[in-house]
C-alpha cells in the first residue's frame, strides 16, 4: 500500500481533459483523499496539448510530484510528451483508437482501452471522460459505488437516463481495463483515506469566497488569465447580496471604478494579471495619494508583455512593490495556500480600510488555478474592521470642510463617505491640505508626504513570515513565497535525510518588507537560499536590500513557465551545501 500517487490526463484542449479531471478528483475527494492539482494548458480554446495532473494523498500535500504513476492519454502526443515522467512500472491508459505506442526505451505498462469507441457506443464521444476516469478508478482498486455517487451528483439534474448512461460508461471503462490488467494494479493501491470530504478549490475561488466573507460587494474587472475565475465566481455570488460585478472596458476603468466605489463606501475589488496591473499603475497612485482603500488581486503569470500567459511565474514583484510614479504607501501580501487566499482576502479589505491604502494580493498561476484540498474555513476568524470610517458627524459651519486628511498621530485620518451630512470635503490627486484642498505650500507638502508614508510603519499582517524552523542553527534557510512552499518542504524532507538542517520561511508580507522577522531567521542560518519563479531574483533583491547578509544568499530561479519540482529544489540546495 502507498500513501500517495500521481495521476495525469492529457489530450487536445477541449476534448474532455478538464471534465475527466473534475469527475475523477470529485470522487477521490468523497473518499477523503488530499488532492493537489496542476493544469498545463495553452491559451487556445480548442486544440493544443493540455494536461492536468493530480497528486492524491492520505495526508495534506501542497506540491506536484517529480514523477507520475498513471497517465491517461487521449492521443499519442500526450504519451510522447509525458511518458518520461512515469516512474519505473508506471501505467498508461490510452485510447485504443489511435493505436498508442510507447516511446522508445520506455517500459511503462500500456493499456489500450477503446475509450472513444465505448463512449460512442453509449451515445456520444463526450462520455470519454467517464470511460477514462472509470478505468483509472478501477486500476486503483477503489470502490465503484463511491464513484457512481459522484456521477449521480454531477448529472442528477439532467435526469436518471443520463446518470445511468454515465454510470455505464464508467463501468465499461473499469471492466475493460481490469480485464487487460488482470485486476487492480498492486503497486497502486492507496491506503484508505480518512473518509472526510475536504474542501476542494482553486486559489481564485478561495479569493472570491474570502471577498464575499470580507464584505466585498462590488467588483470591476477585465477578463485575463489567470484571474478571470474571481470575477466569474463573484458575478454569481454578489447579486444575492445586493452587489454586482462590472466587466469594464479595460483595467484602467476597472481600477478607477473600484476607487470610485471604495471612495463612496463599498468594499470593492479588481483582479488582473501583469498586463492589467501595468495599466493600473497611475490609478494606484491616485488611491495612495487620496488615501482611498483599494484591493487589487494580481495573479501572476509568465511575463514580460504577453509572455507565457498560461504558465507559472512570479515576476511581477517589482512592479507591485515599486509600481506607480511618485511615492505612496502600499501593501503587497502573498497568500501561500488556498486557506491564505481566503483569509488574506478578508484581511486585505480590512488593511485597505484601516490604513486607507491600496492593497495588492499577489498570487501566482499555480496558486490561482491549481485545485487543492483545503482545511475547513471559518467565517469569524477575521472580523471585519473598517478602520476610522465615521458615519455620525456633527454639522459643519458654512464653508467649513471636514478634515478628511487631518494630521494624526498614526497618520491615518478619519474617513467619511459621500451622502453623509457633516462630511463635506474635497478629494484630489493634487497635493492637498487637511480638508483635501489643493496646496503647494512646502510645509504642508512635507507634512502630508510624511503622514502618508509613515502610516504603515510597523505594520504586520497575520503570519507575515510563516516559518517552519525546527533548527536553532540551520545549514540552509530556504525562503520562498506564493505557491512554492509545498515543493520546498518536500525537498527539505530529502535534504534532512541527507543530514542537512533546513529551515523554511514563506514571506507573506512582501511590502512593507518584514525586515526584523526575516532577519531573525537569517541570522542563525549558515546559508540562505531564496527560491522564486523569475529570472532576476526579485525577492532575493528585497531580502538583500532590507536585511543585507548578501554574502550568504544564493538564488534558485526557474522561469521556463513550470512550477518547481521537489527534485529540482533538492538538487539546487544540495549543490549549494
Amino acid at each position: 500500500m502507498i500513501s500517495q500517487l500521481s495521476w495525469k490526463i492529457g489530450g487536445q484542449q477541449g476534448e474532455g481533459v478538464e471534465s475527466t479531471d473534475r469527475i475523477f478528483s470529485t470522487a477521490l475527494n468523497r473518499l477523503g483523499y488530499y488532492l493537489y492539482g496542476y493544469r498545463h494548458f495553452s491559451s487556445r480554446i480548442k486544440g493544443g496539448h493540455t494536461n492536468n495532473k493530480i497528486r492524491i494523498s492520505t495526508h495534506p500535500i501542497r506540491a506536484i510530484s517529480d514523477d507520475l504513476d498513471i497517465l491517461v492519454a487521449f492521443d499519442q502526443e500526450s504519451i510522447d510528451l509525458n511518458a518520461h515522467e512515469l516512474r519505473a512500472g508506471g501505467v498508461i491508459v490510452a485510447d485504443a483508437k489511435f493505436n498508442p505506442v510507447l516511446p522508445e526505451g520506455n517500459n511503462a505498462r500500456l493499456f489500450p482501452v477503446p475509450i472513444t469507441t465505448i463512449a460512442e457506443e453509449l451515445g456520444t464521444s463526450l462520455m470519454k471522460n467517464m470511460v477514462a476516469s472509470g478505468a483509472s478508478w478501477a486500476l486503483l482498486g477503489l470502490p465503484l459505488d463511491v464513484f457512481n455517487k459522484a456521477v449521480e451528483e454531477e448529472f442528477g439534474r439532467k435526469g436518471a437516463a443520463i446518470v445511468e448512461k454515465n454510470v455505464e460508461a464508467v463501468k465499461r471503462g473499469a471492466d475493460f481495463v481490469l480485464e487487460l490488467a488482470g485486476g487492480p494494479i498492486e503497486e497502486l493501491q492507496l491506503d484508505a483515506a480518512d473518509g472526510k470530504q475536504k474542501l476542494f478549490m482553486i486559489g481564485n475561488e478561495g479569493i472570491g469566497l474570502g471577498a464575499v466573507a470580507g464584505g466585498c460587494r462590488l467588483m470591476s474587472a477585465y477578463p485575463i488569465t489567470p484571474a478571470s475565475e474571481i470575477m466569474e465566481y463573484l458575478i454569481k455570488k454578489l447579486p444575492p447580496l445586493g452587489g454586482t460585478v462590472v466587466q469594464t472596458e479595460d483595467e484602467i476603468a476597472a481600477v478607477t471604478m473600484a476607487i470610485g466605489a471604495n471612495y463612496a463606501g463599498v468594499r470593492t475589488m479588481t483582479a488582473s494579471a501583469g498586463p492589467g496591473l501595468a495599466l493600473m499603475m497611475e490609478a494606484i497612485g491616485l488611491a495612495g495619494m487620496t488615501e482611498t482603500p483599494l484591493v487589487i488581486v494580481n495573479t501572476q503569470r509568465g511575463g514580460p508583455s504577453t509572455g507565457l500567459p498560461t504558465k507559472q511565474e512570479q515576476s511581477d514583484l517589482n512592479a507591485m512593490v515599486y509600481g506607480t510614479h511618485g511615492e505612496i504607501p502600499k501593501i503587497v501580501i502573498a497568500p501561500a495556500s488556498i486557506e491564505d487566499c481566503f483569509y488574506d482576502t478578508i484581511e486585505a479589505f480590512n488593511l485597505a480600510e484601516q490604513y486607507q491604502v491600496p492593497v495588492i494580493i499577489m498570487t501566482d498561476l499555480q496558486l490561482s488555478l491549481g485545485k487543492q484540498s483545503c482545511e475547513a474555513l471559518e467565517l469569524d476568524k477575521i472580523a471585519i474592521n473598517r478602520g476610522k470610517l465615521v458615519r455620525e458627524l456633527p454639522e459643519l459651519e458654512t464653508h467649513q470642510l471636514f478634515k478628511r486628511y487631518e494630521l494624526t498621530e498614526d497618520g491615518v485620518s478619519p474617513r467619511v463617505i459621500p451622502g453623509d451630512k457633516g462630511g463635506l470635503h474635497h478629494v484630489t490627486g493634487v497635493e492637498h491640505d487637511e480638508t483635501g484642498r489643493p496646496s503647494e505650500n512646502s510645509l504642508n507638502r512635507l507634512k502630508m508626504m510624511d503622514k502618508r508614508l509613515t502610516k504603515l510603519n510597523g505594520m504586520l499582517i497575520r503570519d507575515a513570515v510563516r516559518a517552519d524552523a525546527p533548527h536553532a542553527a540551520a545549514d540552509i534557510l530556504i525562503i520562498g513565497m506564493g505557491s512554492t512552499g509545498g515543493t520546498i518542504d518536500e525537498a527539505r524532507t530529502r535534504l534532512e535525510k541527507d543530514g542537512l538542517k533546513t529551515n523554511h520561511i514563506t514571506i507573506r508580507q512582501i511590502h512593507p518588507f518584514p525586515t526584523d522577522l526575516v532577519k531573525s531567521y537569517m541570522d542563525s542560518a549558515k546559508k540562505v537560499v531564496v527560491l522564486e519563479n523569475n529570472a532576476t531574483a526579485q525577492l532575493a533583491s528585497q531580502v538583500k536590500l532590507y536585511v543585507g547578509q548578501a554574502e550568504k544568499i544564493s538564488s534558485v530561479l526557474k522561469y521556463d513557465g513550470n512550477p518547481f519540482l521537489p527534485s529540482e529544489v533538492y538538487k539546487a540546495c544540495k549543490e549549494l551545501s
Binding site: 445586493g242 472596458e249 476603468a253 470610485g260 474555513l377
Partner: protein, 288 residues
C-alpha cells in the same frame, strides 16, 4: 431646501478671467439647487485639465481624479451609492482623447451619471495643444502647420453608442445650460452634455463671437422631436454638430442599476457587511 448659494464654496477658481468654465460652474450650482439636491447628496467627479478643477469649486462631495478617468470613477461612486446624484465632468481632451474609451462605454452602460464636458477645442491646462475637437487646419503648439486629423464628433459617437440623453450648450447661455443640466440630472440613465466653453487664453479661433455666429439653437425648430433618434442624428449632421439644446432623449431604456438582476435598491454603501453563518456555510458547501 438648499439654494444655489449653498453649492458655492469660498475657493476662488484659478481659471483665467473670461474662461467659459465659470458659467458651467454656476450652471451646475443652480441646476443642483433647482432639482432639490442638498450638497451632501451630490458627488462631482472630475478629470484633469483646467475644467477638471471644477469639483473643487462646488460645495458638494467632490473628487478630482486622474486624466481621462472621471467617468469610471463616477460610475464606481454611483454603483456604490445609487442614492447619490453623480456628476462627472472634465475637458474635451479628458473625455474625447485619453478618456474616449470610457466615454463610449459609459454611454453603453447607461448608469445614471450626468457627464458635463467643457469643450474648448484645445488643451488648456497644458497650454495650448490640439484636441480631438480641434478643427482641421487649427494651428496649435503641437500642430504648427495646422491639425491634419478629422475633428471628432462626440454627439454622433454618443448617438451611435446608444446614448439615452444627448445635449449640447454654450456656456454663455446660462439659462439653457442650467435647464439642460437639470434635465440631465433628472434623466434616469447616462446623460452627455457637451458644453462649448471657450478658452480665452489659448484658443483664438473658437471664441465667444465665433460660437455665437456658428451655433444654431434647436428652439429654432419648433417641430424638432428629441425622442426621434434618426431625426437627432440627421440634425447633428446637418448642423455639423454646431447645435444647442436637448438633442436626444430615450426615456424608455432602463438604467444599468435598474437592469442588474438583484442589485440593491438602496445605497449599497449603507449595507451591513456581515454575512450570516448560514449563507457562508452554503457557499462553502459548494466546494465539497
Amino acid at each position: 431646501m438648499a439654494t444655489f448659494k449653498e453649492f458655492r464654496n469660498n475657493v476662488k477658481p484659478n481659471w483665467c478671467p473670461g474662461c467659459g468654465d465659470f458659467s458651467v460652474q454656476a450652471a451646475i450650482q443652480r441646476a443642483a439647487a433647482n432639482v432639490g439636491l442638498e450638497p451632501e447628496n451630490l458627488a462631482v467627479i472630475s478629470g484633469i485639465g483646467c475644467s477638471g478643477r471644477i469639483s473643487g469649486y462646488i460645495n458638494a462631495y467632490g473628487l478630482h481624479g486622474i486624466h481621462g478617468r472621471a467617468l469610471p470613477i463616477a460610475q464606481g461612486v454611483k454603483l456604490a451609492n445609487r442614492e447619490l446624484t453623480v456628476i462627472a465632468s472634465g475637458g474635451d481632451g479628458d473625455g474625447f482623447a485619453i478618456g474616449m474609451g470610457h466615454t463610449v462605454h459609459a454611454i453603453r452602460r447607461n448608469l445614471d451619471v450626468t457627464y458635463i464636458v467643457m469643450d474648448n477645442q484645445i488643451y488648456g491646462l497644458t497650454k495650448g495643444q490640439t484636441s480631438p475637437r480641434s478643427a482641421e487646419g487649427f494651428k496649435t503648439k503641437s500642430t504648427p502647420e495646422g491639425s491634419i486629423e478629422t475633428t471628432l464628433s462626440p454627439l454622433e459617437i454618443a448617438m451611435s453608442a446608444g446614448a439615452t440623453f444627448v445635449a449640447q450648450s454654450f456656456s454663455t447661455d446660462l439659462k439653457q445650460l442650467t435647464l439642460l443640466i437639470e434635465e440631465g440630472l433628472k434623466h434616469k440613465g447616462f446623460s452627455l452634455i457637451n458644453v462649448f466653453s471657450p478658452c480665452v487664453t489659448f484658443n483664438k479661433v473658437n471664441t465667444y463671437d465665433w460660437f455665437k455666429e456658428n451655433i444654431v439653437n434647436l428652439e429654432q425648430f419648433p417641430d424638432y422631436d428629441p425622442t426621434n433618434r434618426i431625426a437627432a442624428m440627421n440634425k447633428i449632421m446637418e448642423t455639423n454638430g454646431m447645435l444647442t439644446g436637448l438633442i436626444y432623449q430615450n426615456k424608455e431604456r432602463k438604467s444599468y442599476e435598474d437592469l442588474v438582476v438583484g442589485f440593491q435598491e438602496t445605497g449599497l454603501a449603507n449595507q451591513d457587511l456581515s454575512l450570516s453563518p448560514d449563507h457562508f456555510n452554503k457557499l462553502v458547501a459548494e466546494f465539497k
